[in-house]
């Protein structure tokens, strides 16, 4: 059976899709057969971030409705053989994702894949609850900012109560924290919540800290998951995240502001 990972946050715009793409690509690059599913019916974007938007023929809802089979809908990534994308549909109504239908698709995928990464839509409505219902692991993507931290905490409550594991009294979903858009300079100036602050409030297993980086926008502009950009801090931080998820014990990087020259040191930057 595949391990199901949901990428969630509650709040929108914090980097869920970027993270889902990075996680899926990272796992696939390490040789694991991986499929990444876009649960954001109506507002699909994962295909764009993955750079396969022009190859979408059938989608997740088509498969649930029996209008296409899985092999017709799955798009194989051109950069990595063991990675497949299941896009969301653009137009249909959100209720199209039935619990039964989603469960069936995940079960079928589970036979052929090692990891299933679910890119959740923002909010706590139907699509988001469907994305997390069957999960084994949850990566809660959080920005160091008040509304994002609060929404993440609300998400934790929902993960603990409205999942298959909770309903069947199984071992609860493993929850991980991923802090994104982190700016060490602003943290040093006392303008931004630090990793420790967020950890103190949410007390979750910290999977990674992704620094605020121009590379993320560049990567989505080009349709290349940022995890492939190993020159950038964000790319390296995402790679660390994947390795940590797989059990490697790596120190957190990019938590300190870059040291400046003697001039700006004296006068403050």
């Amino acid at each position: 059976m595949a391990r199901i990972i949901v990428i969630t946050s509650g709040k929108g715009g914090v980097g869920k899709t970027t993270t889902a793409a990075a996680m899926a690509m990272g796992l696939a690059q390490r040789g694991h057969r991986t499929v990444v599913i876009d649960f954001d019916v109506g507002l699909r974007n994962l295909d764009l971030i993955m750079g396969c938007e022009r190859r979408v023929v059938y989608d997740f809802v088509n498969v649930i409705n029996g209008e296409a089979n899985l092999n017709q809908a799955l798009i194989r990534d051109k950069r990595c053989d063991s990675l497949y994308v299941l896009p969301a549909s653009q137009t249909r109504d959100k209720e199209a994702l039935t619990q039964e239908g989603v469960g069936k698709v995940l079960e079928d995928l589970g036979k052929g894949y090692d990891y299933i990464v679910c890119d959740s839509p923002a909010g706590i409505e139907h699509g988001a609850t469907m994305a997390m219902y069957f999960a084994d692991d949850a990566v809660v993507v959080t920005n160091p900012e008040v509304s994002s931290v609060r929404d993440s905490d609300r998400m934790l409550g929902i993960l603990a109560s409205k999942s298959r594991r909770a309903e069947q009294n199984d071992e609860p979903i493993k929850e991980h924290l991923l802090l994104t858009r982190y700016s060490p300079e602003r943290v040093e100036r006392g303008e931004m919540l630090s990793v420790n602050d967020v950890q103190e409030i949410l007390s979750l297993n910290l999977l990674g800290v992704i620094p605020e980086s121009q590379a993320v926008l560049n990567a989505s502009n080009a349709g290349i998951p940022v995890v492939l950009d190993n020159e950038s801090n964000a790319g390296m931080a995402y790679n660390d995240m994947v390795s940590r998820y797989l059990g490697e014990d790596l120190p957190m990087r990019f938590l300190d502001a870059e040291r400046k020259g003697i001039f700006s040191r004296i006068f403050g930057g």
């Binding site: 609060r150 409550g157 100036r189 006392g190 303008e191």
Partner: protein, 88 residues
Amino acid sequence: MGLLDVFRSNRNKGSASVAKERLQILVAHDRAFRNRPSYLPKLQQEILEVIRKYVEVDLDAVSVNYEQDEDQEFLELNIVLPDAAGRT
């Protein structure tokens, strides 16, 4: 830390500490609320109905509080009765 930062840090503590404080309070409150049993609102409603059979009280006269620590749960009921003049 730069030389000028010494003066700067005294002047301005930064907004992050305010954010952290607010969040800690908010999250604690959210969590307490989340762990409440789901029957509480209905319980409150029914108790209010019973009391209103006998005493004319305001709709918000009954408050139900639920607290939980490691090995105990507290259900606290607080009913505010009107002063003597209001009683029938």
